[in-house]
Symmetry: C2
Subunit: 792 residues, 2 copies
C-alpha cells in the first residue's frame, strides 16, 4: 500500500504532467498553424478567419510575437468571460448543462469538504487507534485521518452518522435546486427556440401492414381520421442499407482518387500507377487516376439503379414515418397519447431533431425490440462481470510483488525508492485507464443493437452502460479482491448484511488508491484533454497530405463534441468517490474539488472554442445525472452502515436505515416533480408558442417548411443541389431545407418521391437528371455528409 510519501510523489508527477500539457497547449494555441485545432468552433460559426493570412512566411506557421508567450495562462479568464446565456446561445443547452455538472460538484463537495475536514479530522485523529499499531501494519498515514483510526464501539461514530445525515441533506438540497434550475432552463430554451421541424413532427413506428395498401396511404388515412384538425403531412422512411454501403464504397474510391491526383500534381512528371490485385500487391499495373475514375463511374451507375429501385419498390418503404402537424399542440397531443387499440402498433413519439435521427433503427418491429433488449441485457451482464479478468491480471502486475515475480530482472530497478513510489502511485490507475479505452466503442455498438432511434438516446444509453461498468469494475473491483465474477459468486453466497460489511471494511484502506486515481485520471487526463493531441496530429497530417481547397481544410478540422458516453460516467464516478469518502476519509475531497474546478475551466474553454455539438437534446441527460448521484448517495449510506457495523458501533444500523428511505422518497418526489419536463412537452407551452406564431403570422408557410425536413439522407444530396439553384429566389437562410419541389406538388402528403402515384413520375425523372449532374460536380462532399449522417 502506498504511504503518504508515495501520494506526494504521485501528486508531483501528475501536477508536473498536467503542467506540461498546459504549457504545450499554451504554446501551441497561439501558433497560427494550429489555430484551426484550438478555435474550431469559431471557424465553424464563421466568426474567425485564419491568422495565417497576415504576417510573413514564417509568421504563417509560428507565432513570432513573443509578448503573447508571457501570458500563456490567459485562456482561463477568457474562458470565464462568457456568461451562461451566451454559452447557451453559442454552443447550445447541452453544453451549458454539462458545465453545470461540474459546478454542482463544487457546490456539493465544497461546503462538505470544509465541514468534514474541520469536524471529522480532529475526531478521527484523536481516536488514535492506529498509533498503537506497528508502522508496517498501518496501511498508510492517510488512514490516521480516516475513520479507521477510531476505536471500535466508540461513541465518536455518532459524529460520523450525524455528518452522513448532514451531507445527505445538503446534497439533496443542492440536487433539488439544480434539477429545478435545469428544468426551468430547458423549458425556457425550448420556449425561446425559433420554429423547428421537430416541434411539429412525431415519429410513428410500427405502422401496420395492410394488404393492398402502401404504408404511406395507411399513415395518411389513419392520421387524417384520428387527428382531422391537426394532421398536416408525413414523410416516409426508406430502407437504404444497400445504398449507404455503395455510398461508403464510392467515398473510399474518391479518397484514393484525390490522393492520386494530389500526388500527380506534386510530381507532374510521373503518373501514379497501381496493381489491380489484392491490396495492390500483384496483378496488372494500371494508371491509378484513370482506374479510380472508371470505378467511380461504375459505382455511380449502380447507385442510380439502386436509387431507382428504392423509389419503385414499395418494400423499401419501411413501417415508420415522420408525421407533421399544423400546430405544436397537435404534434404534442399525438406524441403523448396512445393511438391504436393495439398498443404495439402506431407507436408515436416526438421526432428527434433531423440531425439527431439514427436512421437505421427506425423500422425495427416491436417484438424484435423486446428480444433485442433482453439479449443486450444478458450480454451487458456478461460484459460487466467478465471484462475484469484481463484488468485484474494487469493490476496484479502493477502490484510490486507480482511484478517482481513475473519479471525478476526488474528487481534492481524496483529497488530504487523513486521508481517504487512511481509504480505504486501511478501504475494501478494507468492500467485501468488503458483497459477502459476500447469499452465505449463496444458499448455504443450494443446500444445501437438495442434499437434506439436518436443519437442523443444512444449516447445516453451508452453512458448508463458505462456507469454500471465503472461501478462494478472500477469502484467495487478496486475495493474487493478478485475479479468481478469471483465477487459476484461471493456475493451470491453471502448474506444481505454481510456484503456491505465486506466492502465497507475495505473502503478506508482504498482511499490512497482512489486519490492516485483521481490525480491520474482526473488531473492529468483533463490537462491532456485541452491539448487535443490526437486531433492536432490528425489535422496536421491531413493538412500535409489531403487538403487542397478551403472546404477540405474545414473538413480536416473535425471539431468533435463533448464525449458524453465517456465523460458523464467518469464524472459520476467522481461523485461516487466523493459521496462514499466524505464521511470515511474526508481528506480525499480536496482532490476531487481540484478536479471539478480544473475540469470546469478546461471544458468551458473547449465548449467555447472547440467543440461543435452534433445534436441538441436540451439537457435531456440531466435526469440521468440526478439519478446517478442519488444512487451514489444510497451506495455511500449502505457502505457506511456496513463499515460501522464492523466497527461494532452500537445501534448504528437503526440510526442509518432511515437515510436510504428518505433518499429514495426524495428521488421519487424529484422524479415526479421534474422528470416530465425532460420527457414530455406541456400542452400549455405548446399552446403559447402556437399562439405567438399565429399572431406573428409565421405559420402560413408551415407545410413548405416541414415538407422535407425529415427527408432521408439519401435524398438530401439531391435537395442540396436544387437548393443551391433556388436559394437566390428564396433567401430564407434560417429555414432548413425547404423543398422547392413540394411547392409545385399538389399531393396531399409531403413524401416528395412517392412510389404509388404515377402522376409524379415526371418529377422522379427530372430529379434523377439533377441527381446525375450533382454526382459530377460535388459528389465527394455530400457523400461524406451522407456517411456521417449514417454513422455506421
Amino acid at each position: 500500500m502506498a504511504s503518504l510519501g508515495d501520494i506526494g510523489v504521485s501528486a508531483l508527477i501528475n501536477i508536473l504532467s498536467a503542467f506540461a500539457f498546459l504549457l504545450a497547449f499554451a504554446v501551441l494555441r497561439i501558433q497560427p498553424i494550429s489555430d484551426r485545432v484550438y478555435f474550431t468552433k469559431w471557424y465553424i460559426a464563421g466568426k474567425r478567419s485564419s491568422p495565417r493570412n497576415t504576417g510573413g512566411v514564417m509568421g504563417k506557421f509560428v507565432n513570432l510575437n513573443f509578448r503573447t508567450y508571457l501570458t500563456f495562462l490567459n485562456w482561463m479568464p477568457q474562458a470565464l468571460r462568457m456568461s451562461e446565456a451566451e454559452i447557451i446561445n453559442h454552443a447550445g443547452l447541452d453544453s451549458a448543462a454539462f458545465l453545470r455538472i461540474y459546478i454542482l460538484g463544487l457546490k456539493i463537495f465544497g461546503p462538505i469538504a470544509i465541514v468534514a475536514l474541520l469536524v471529522l479530522i480532529p475526531v478521527n485523529v484523536s481516536g488514535g487507534m492506529l498509533f498503537f499499531l506497528r508502522r508496517d501494519l498501518v496501511v498508510s498515514n492517510i488512514d490516521k485521518l480516516s475513520i479507521s483510526n477510531v476505536r471500535p464501539k466508540s461513541y465518536k461514530f455518532l459524529v460520523h452518522i450525524a455528518m452522513e445525515y448532514l451531507c445527505t441533506f445538503w446534497t439533496c438540497y443542492m440536487l433539488y435546486r439544480e434539477y429545478d434550475r435545469v428544468a426551468t432552463m430547458r423549458l425556457n430554451f425550448l420556449a425561446s427556440q425559433g420554429r423547428r421541424p421537430e416541434q411539429f413532427t412525431v415519429l410513428v413506428r410500427n405502422v401496420p401492414q395492410e394488404s393492398g395498401r402502401s404504408v404511406s396511404d395507411s399513415v395518411e388515412s389513419f392520421f387524417r381520421r384520428n387527428h382531422p384538425d391537426h394532421y398536416l403531412c408525413h414523410q416516409a422512411v426508406y430502407d437504404a442499407k444497400k445504398f449507404a454501403k455503395l455510398v461508403k464504397k464510392r467515398n473510399q474510391l474518391q479518397n484514393w482518387l484525390d490522393y492520386n491526383q494530389l500526388k500527380f500534381e506534386k510530381q507532374p512528371s510521373k503518373r501514379p500507377t497501381k496493381k489491380k490485385g489484392f491490396l495492390g500487391l500483384w496483378g496488372e499495373k494500371v494508371d491509378s487516376i484513370n482506374y479510380y475514375k472508371e470505378q467511380i463511374k461504375d459505382l455511380d451507375t449502380k447507385l442510380m439503379m439502386e436509387r431507382e429501385r428504392i423509389m419503385k419498390d414499395p418494400k423499401s418503404v419501411t413501417r415508420a414515418a415522420f408525421v407533421s402537424f399544423n400546430s405544436r399542440w397537435g404534434a404534442d397531443v399525438c406524441a403523448q397519447t396512445q393511438q391504436s387499440k393495439n398498443p404495439t402498433l402506431w407507436l408515436t413519439n416526438w421526432a428527434p431533431e433531423p440531425r439527431d435521427v439514427y436512421w437505421k433503427n427506425l423500422s425495427i418491429p416491436f417484438v424484435s425490440l423486446t428480444i433485442r433488449r433482453l439479449v443486450i441485457s444478458v450480454a451487458m451482464f456478461a460484459l460487466v462481470f467478465f471484462y475484469m479478468i484481463p484488468i485484474a491480471f494487469v493490476q496484479s502486475l502493477a502490484n510490486l510483488e507480482g511484478l517482481e515475480r513475473v519479471a525478476p530482472f526488474l528487481r534492481p530497478l524496483i529497488g530504487w525508492k523513486f521508481v517504487k513510489s512511481f509504480l505504486q502511485g501511478f501504475l494501478p490507475g494507468l492500467a485501468l485507464k488503458i483497459f477502459l479505452f476500447a469499452l465505449p466503442i463496444i458499448l455504443m455498438i450494443m446500444s445501437k443493437l438495442e434499437g434506439h432511434v436518436a443519437l442523443s438516446v444512444l449516447e445516453r444509453r451508452t453512458a448508463s452502460k458505462y456507469y454500471y461498468f465503472m461501478l462494478v469494475n472500477v469502484f467495487l473491483g478496486s475495493i474487493a479482491t478478485g475479479t468481478a465474477f469471483q465477487q459476484l459468486h461471493a456475493f451470491l453466497h453471502q448474506s444481505a448484511t454481510q456484503i456491505p460489511r465486506n466492502i465497507g471494511i475495505s473502503i478506508p484502506m482504498k482511499a490512497t488508491f482512489f486519490i492516485t486515481y483521481i490525480m491520474v485520471d482526473g488531473w492529468a487526463g483533463i490537462a491532456s484533454e485541452i491539448l487535443r493531441l490526437k486531433p492536432l496530429v490528425i489535422f496536421h497530417l491531413k493538412n500535409m497530405f489531403l487538403v487542397k481547397t478551403e472546404r477540405d481544410l474545414e473538413k480536416a478540422m473535425d471539431p468533435k463534441s463533448v464525449d458524453f458516453p465517456e465523460t458523464l460516467p467518469s464524472l459520476q464516478l467522481y461523485f461516487l468517490l466523493g459521496t462514499v469518502y466524505m464521511v470515511v476519509t474526508p481528506i480525499l475531497l480536496p482532490f476531487i474539488l481540484v478536479f471539478f474546478a480544473f475540469a470546469y475551466f478546461v471544458y468551458r474553454h473547449q465548449i467555447i472554442n472547440v467543440y461543435n455539438q452534433k445534436y441538441e437534446s436540451a439537457a435531456a441527460f440531466w435526469p440521468h445525472v440526478h439519478g446517478r448521484i442519488i444512487a451514489n448517495l444510497l451506495i455511500s449510506q449502505l457502505l457506511l452502515m456496513g463499515l460501522l457495523s464492523t466497527k461494532k458501533a452500537a445501534n448504528s444500523t437503526p440510526l442509518l436505515i432511515v437515510l436510504p428511505i428518505l433518499t429514495l422518497t426524495f428521488h421519487k418526489y424529484c422524479k415526479n416533480r421534474f422528470e416530465p419536463a425532460f420527457r414530455k412537452y406541456p400542452l400549455e407551452e405548446a399552446m403559447t408558442k402556437d399562439t405567438q406564431d399565429r399572431e406573428s403570422g409565421t405559420d402560413v408557410t408551415l407545410k413548405t417548411y416541414l415538407a422535407n425536413a425529415y427527408l432521408h439522407p439519401i435524398f438530401r444530396s439531391l435537395e442540396e443541389a436544387e437548393l443551391a439553384e433556388v436559394r437566390v429566389d428564396k433567401n430564407e437562410a434560417h429555414i432548413a431545407n425547404p423543398s422547392p419541389v413540394e411547392l409545385k406538388s399538389s399531393s396531399p402528403h409531403c413524401a416528395y418521391l412517392h412510389e404509388n402515384e404515377p402522376s409524379e413520375g415526371v418529377q422522379v425523372e427530372q430529379s434523377q437528371k439533377v441527381y446525375h449532374y450533382k454526382f459530377e460536380s460535388r459528389s465527394n462532399v455530400y457523400m461524406y455528409d451522407i456517411e456521417s449522417q449514417h454513422n455506421v
Copy 2:
C-alpha cells in the same frame, strides 16, 4: 405431521360441512321469506316480484311445494345457463372478468394436473428413497408421491426440470391468450357502452391557487386557453367533511325516530320514552318521538347553515375539479397529456365513473401524497412482518404437543384418534383464517390514507396489500419456522442462494398442510359463501324490527358486491400453491382444481342472482391478476432451484436460471402489449365513438347531460327532488341526473352553484327552499344515499 389418514378425515369433514352448507342453501333459497336474500340482483333490476304475494298465509313464509325440494341442486345448471355476453349485460364486465379467473385456473392447472400426475407420480414413487426410512421418520404418505422420494443426485430430476419448463410455457401461453381476450373484451365493452359522463370528463387535481382568483375561474380560463376547441364545462369539488358528519348524525337520529315510531305503532297504549343523559342511562325522562323530532329539526337548521357556508365560502371549493369536454377525443387527449410546466400542478386523469369517486381524497396536495405513500409503505412493511406474532402463537397451540403443554386437562381428549386427526387436519388452517378476518378493514383504511381517488383503485390497492400479506405470512410463514420477523432477520443474515434453499427444502413437507388449508378455506369457505348466512340473518332481523314500507324492504336487502380486496388475493394464493407444487407434489393439484370448479359455480350463481356491483371498472384489475400469476411463477422457479440444489441435482441451477429470465421478458412484453388497454383509452376508439355520436346526432344535449353528472353528493339530494318534479316532462330515463337548473343558466361553466357570481344568488335561494321541502319529505332515504356514497 398429518398422515394420509388425517387428510382423509379432514377431507371428510370439509366435504360434509360443504354439503351441509349446500343443503341449507338449497332449502332456504326456495323459501319465499328468503327470496330477497338469494335473488337480490333480480329485485334490484326490477325483474322479480316477491313470491309472497301468491299463496296462503303459510305459503308466504315457507315453501309448501315439496316437489321443488327434490331438485335442490338445480341452481348449478341454472347458473351455467347464462352466456358470458349475457352476464356482461346483466352484471357488468368486472363480474364477467372475475369469473374468467376461475376458468383461467382450470385451464392452467387442468392439463398440468393430468400430465404431472401421469409423469411425475411414477417417477417419484419409483425412486423409493422414503420406503427405506422408518415409518415415524417419514413425514407422511403423501411425501412418497412427491419429489422428496427421489434420491439425491438422481438423474430423475431432469424430468422435474423439464416439467417446470413445460408448465411455465403452458401457463404463459394461457396467460397470454387470456390477457388478449380480456383486453379485447374491455375495449369492446367500452366501445359498446352508451354515452356516459366519465367518457367526456377528466379529473383535474392540484389546481394552483392564484391570488384574487377563485379555483373555478382558474380552471375555466386554463382549459379555455389550452383546449379551446374541446373544453365544455367543469364541476367544482366542495370540501364537505363537516356536512357529511352532520348528515351521518342526522341519519342516526332518524333511525332512532323510526325505531320509536314503530314501537309506538305496535303498542299504541305506551308512548316510548328515553333518558337524556349519556347512553340513555340517566338524566331527565322525555318522550322519545318528540325528542328525536326536535333534535332532527335542530340538525336540519345546522345542515342548512353549513350548506350555505359551503356555498359562500371560496375556501370550501377544493383544488380539484371535474372538467368536461365536448368530445371523447378531447377528454382523452387531456387525460393522457401533461398540461402545465410544473408537472405537479394541473394533474389530469380520466375521471372515475360518478358512483366510483371517493370524494374525500380528491383534494390532497401532491407533496402530501408523496409523504402519505412513504408512511403507508413503512406501515405496510411493519404490518406484514409483525402481524404474524399472534398467529404464530395460536398455531403453536394447534400443534398437538403445544396444546398438551398449555392445556394439560385436554390430554385424554387428544388421546382419541378422531379428535387428534381433527385437530391436526383442521385447526392450523382455521387459526389462520380467523386471524385474517380483521385484516381487510385495516388494509382498506391504509389504502384510503394513501390518497387514491376511486373506490375501484382503493379495492385494487387493498387487494395488492393483502396479497403481500398472504405471501409473507400465509405462504412463507407456514413454510419457514418462526415469526415473519424472525424470518426477515434470518433472511438478512443468509446468503442470496441460501434463502431459496432453506424454503425450498421444506416445501414438500408442507404439502399436507396446504391441502387441508385448501379444503378448509376453499371448499368449506366457498360453500358458506353461497349460503350468505350473515346477510340472511341481518335481513330477517331488519324485516322483523325495521321494515315498514316497500322501500325499507329494498334497503334491507343489501346485495353487496364481489369482495375483490379479499377474494382476489386468496385466489392468487391458490394460484401460488398450484404453481409451486405442480412439480414438487402434484397430488395437490386436484384439490385446487376442485376448488376452482366449485368456486366458479358458486360465484357464477351469486353474480347472476345476488351481487350488485358498486361500480364498473371494466376489468381494470386484470393486469394485477396477470402480474401476480407471473410473480407466482417466478417464486415457484426460485424455490425449485433451491430445492434441487439441496438435492445435489448436478447443474440444475444453470438449467433453471434461464426460466425466470424468459418469464420476466414475457411479462415485460405482455405489459407493453396489453396493459395500455387498461390504463389509457386509444384515440382511435374515442374518435370512432365520437363520429358515431355525431352521425346519430346525440351530442346536441351534451352540456345538459354533463352539467351535474359529477355533482358533489351533498347537492345530489336536491337534484333528486327536482328531478322527480321534472321527470315527467323529460322522459329520458337513461340519462343520469340532468339538471333542469343548468338549462336555465347562461353561466359558461356548469358548476351549478357557484360562489362568485352574484347573478346566481336567486337560484341559491330558490334551491334552498326546495332543499328544505326535501328534508321534510324523504330525508331519511337520501341521507342514507349520501352516507353510502361517502363511505367513511
